[in-house]
């Protein structure tokens, strides 16, 4: 049996676009659904900001009348639904499908030189399971007692029948369970593909950092999404079958804190799940557009591995306030602060890559730089929250909201935009408009910084998160102007995203035709046509170089360009000795045995 056969391209519409097993089509399916829900989640955020800026005033225009009924008012219960669904939709149904679903599917096989995923059928099943979860989410909005309203963390007792009666909350937990299954299927596929289907010569230390990021993310997804699945299972049992896992006191012998443990055992790896692919993409893009090899490539890889390992043992810093043993708290604090060391190394590697590079400020590069900037801000504010003495004061304030919106929201989204601008030619065969892209970037980076920077300041001023109307509290009245300015930033940020929407659709139909390798980089996906044929590679390429082979003087002299493809044998004997011994050396005995 041939491991990677060339299948005939599908002919019917049904096989080609709907039930496609081609990883590139599935990537686009994830992209479309993810972008639609990104827009939806963004709109929910606008409504939240409206309520915070103008408490109790009717939402103007079509949005108000279409979404909120006759009086166009956001009531307290609706407000709870808004921030709950905004958070969950953005994390699970916008960032995850675009960053991991779309770019994981698109990049992994193409970048490692495979014809498709290891299990194409499972890949298709993953997407349609994801669609099923969307059905649960959308159904929640049509429930009589409203959509889920227990916050994105769905802590009991708020999320039990007592706190949120009605099926909206049950549906969203079922949605989480279903989308989690889809994520696990994807993760199994990604991990197996990277282990089994790398092209000859593509050792682990020659993989693009994008693939490293996506691979490590998949490992975290594989191991920790099931924990959320179990938590969701227990919660649904409590809600629908009368069990007492999270019900304490006279009516039960369970413990609500148990859910917080389960949630954050999953939840802390989750924030790294959302940022690791972004880190990988940023590291690659910075090297590509500085026309320099990535500085200390192995250091970046080991940093990402270290972050992956450490991310599994720091979850307790979300629970400093639950009355945990102080010794345990200090342990979690120490581990949390240690995680900034590998992150710092990664950061320095990016800066070193930029240093004295021939920087090309294309739109993807700008977004990558923007992502570095906001991640820096978010990372620094994380130190305050990881330290118990400051966290006690900042816990559950807008400081936390600003912090995680800088890290897992802004940094991920800017990396998503960088990836869309960068791989658009490979997906759709056309270039996106650079001018509109740069306008989009300028507006986005300014207002995203003002928006979440403002939230940090408000939080520092003592403004709790999830408050329906902060003007009711005298000690927060003086923050009302600040809240309004943050909201204006949010609205402007939303308006600037229209540039992207226009650019996306216009480029798809009438953009400049892309050449095979418009960005002049050497990774394998740029060695095939744009868009690639169904089987990706006519001949599985053989890999000779690392992913960032730029500015090699010999190559410049012989070939007249500053880059060389990973698959191009360079006539001059290699001076660089491949160093990755660990992965390949174990093979011979195994190979003989098989």
């Amino acid at each position: 049996m041939d491991l990677q056969p060339i299948h005939a391209p599908p002919t019917t519409f049904f096989r080609k676009y709907l039930y496609s097993m081609d990883h590139k089509v599935i990537a686009k399916q994830f992209l479309w659904t993810g972008l639609i829900f990104l827009a939806f989640g963004g709109m929910l955020a606008m409504l939240i900001r409206w309520q915070l800026a103008f408490p109790g005033e009717p939402v103007p225009g079509l949005i108000g009348s279409a979404l909120l009924g006759e009086d166009q008012m956001i009531g307290p219960a609706e407000y709870n639904s808004l921030f709950t669904n905004h958070g969950l939709i953005m994390v699970f149904w916008a960032i995850t499908p675009v960053l991991i679903g779309c770019f994981g599917n698109l990049c992994i096989p193409l970048m490692i030189g495979a014809r498709d995923m290891a299990f194409p059928w499972l890949n298709m099943l993953s997407f349609w399971t994801f669609v099923l979860s969307l059905v649960f989410v959308v159904m929640g909005f049509f429930e009589e007692l409203g959509a889920a309203a227990a916050g994105w963390t769905t802590y009991p007792p708020l999320s039990t029948q007592i706190g949120t009666p009605g099926d909206g909350q049950t549906l969203i937990v079922l949605g989480l369970f279903t989308t989690g299954s889809a994520t696990i299927m994807g993760a199994i596929n990604y991990i197996t593909t990277v282990i089994r289907l790398r092209a000859p010569g593509m050792t682990y230390m020659k993989m693009p950092l994008t693939v490293w990021g996506l691979w490590l993310t998949s490992i975290l997804n594989l191991l920790f999404v099931p924990v959320l699945g179990s938590a969701g299972l227990l919660l649904v049992m409590d809600r629908s079958f009368g069990t007492e896992f999270f019900i304490a006191g006279a009516s039960g012998s369970g413990d609500p804190i148990l859910f917080q443990h389960l949630f954050w055992i999953f939840g802390h790896p989750e924030v790294y799940i959302l940022i690791l692919p972004a880190w990988g993409i940023i590291a690659d893009l910075v090297s590509f557009f500085s026309r320099k090899p990535a500085y200390f490539y192995k250091g970046s890889v080991y940093s990402m591995v270290a972050v992956t390992v450490l991310s599994t043992v720091v979850y307790g810093h979300h629970m400093f306030q639950t009355g945990m043993n102080p010794l345990l708290g200090q342990g979690f604090m120490l581990l949390t602060l240690i995680i900034s060391v590998p992150a710092e190394l990664l950061f320095l590697n990016w800066l070193h890559t930029l240093w004295k590079g021939s920087i090309r400020l294309t739109t993807p590069m700008l977004f990558a730089l923007g992502s570095i900037f906001v991640f820096g801000l978010g990372g620094l504010t994380g130190i305050y929250l990881g330290t118990i003495s400051t966290d006690i004061y900042l816990h559950d304030t807008y400081f936390v909201v600003g912090h995680f919106h800088f890290t897992m929201a802004s940094a991920s989204f800017l990396a998503i935009f960088a990836s869309i601008y960068f791989w658009f030619p490979k997906m759709f065969g056309r270039m996106m408009d650079e001018k509109l892209g740069k306008i989009h970037f300028t507006g986005t980076i300014i207002f995203i910084t003002l928006l979440f920077g403002g939230q940090l300041l408000i939080g520092w001023g003592g403004h709790q998160r999830r408050l329906y109307d902060s003007t009711q509290y005298t000690f927060l009245v003086h923050l009302a102007d600040m809240n309004r300015y943050v909201s204006y930033s949010a609205f402007l940020l939303g308006i600037f995203q229209l540039c992207f929407v226009v650019n996306f659709f216009r480029s798809m139909s009438s953009g400049v035709k892309a050449s095979d390798n418009p960005w002049e980089v050497g990774t394998l996906e740029w060695s095939v046509s744009s868009p690639p044929p169904v089987h990706n590679f006519d001949t599985i390429p053989t890999v000779y170089h690392g992913p960032h082979e730029f500015a090699n003087p010999e190559v410049i002299e012989k070939l007249g360009r500053d880059w060389i493809g990973q698959h191009e044998p360079f006539p001059v004997p290699e001076t660089e000795v491949p160093e990755d011994a660990g992965a390949a050396d174990a093979v011979p005995t195994e190979a003989v045995a098989g």
């Binding site: 010569g201 413990d255 055992i265 001949t539 093979v587």
Partner: protein, 208 residues
């Protein structure tokens, strides 16, 4: 594999290139790798449930809570033995497959399948008798955990029985190609996993 790759292997330019080519030609192993990865994921789902149980268990003032009697142990002990024997039977079947003895393979496979079904039948009897005796899902956290853990595990046994049944019908003529062997190994892994999980569930629910 493609011609270009083979040529390169013959020229021996790069040792690692030829090693990776060899590695990829063992494509039948991909599904086994995928299954091991999948079971890693599923193990975490069960570990999360075990963690939950242990947390509630060791924070409780008395156990079983609310003055309940300890649960009867006869059926579960028998079931644990059945699970272990069933795994051994499947192991025997796979050994028979290795030496391409189709008759012995199917015999041991049927034993494994029969024991799996017997396990599930005894479980159902056990659930029914406890339920009728008033021990239900809402009988405190102990009842909640007992039914959730055992039923969740029972569903996996059901899935395993389905897979074994499929195997019995699929392998009427035992062609021990690499692909078929990989399929049997994948299902074997799942069955052993379900067995190991039962031992853990038994230990937690009855002994801790």
């Amino acid at each position: 594999m493609s011609a270009g790759v083979l040529q390169l292997g013959e020229e021996g330019q790069d040792r690692k290139v030829s090693i990776l080519t060899l590695k990829q030609e063992k494509g039948h192993e991909t599904s086994v790798v995928g299954m091991v990865i999948f079971l890693g994921s599923w193990l975490m789902a069960f570990l999360a449930l075990f963690f939950s149980f242990l947390m509630i268990r060791f924070r409780a003032a008395e156990w079983p809570p609310g003055g309940l009697d300890t649960l009867p142990m006869t059926l579960p002990i028998i079931n644990t033995c059945i699970v272990l024997f069933s795994s051994v039977c499947l192991r025997k079947a796979v050994s028979a497959m290795r030496i391409r003895d189709g008759k012995v393979f199917r015999r041991w496979l049927s034993f494994a399948l029969g024991l799996g079904t017997l396990f599930l039948a005894l479980q159902i009897i056990n659930w029914a008798s406890l339920w009728n005796a008033g021990f239900r899902v809402d009988t405190g956290a102990y009842g909640s955990f007992f039914y959730t853990l055992t039923v969740f595990h029972g569903l996996h046994v059901l899935a395993g029985i389905g897979l074994l049944l499929w195997l019995v019908f699929q392998t009427r003529s035992l062609t021990t190609g690499r692909y078929e062997r990989a399929r049997v190994r994948v299902i074997e892994l799942f069955w052993h996993f379900v067995g190991v999980v039962w031992v853990a569930v038994f230990g937690l629910v009855y002994l801790v």
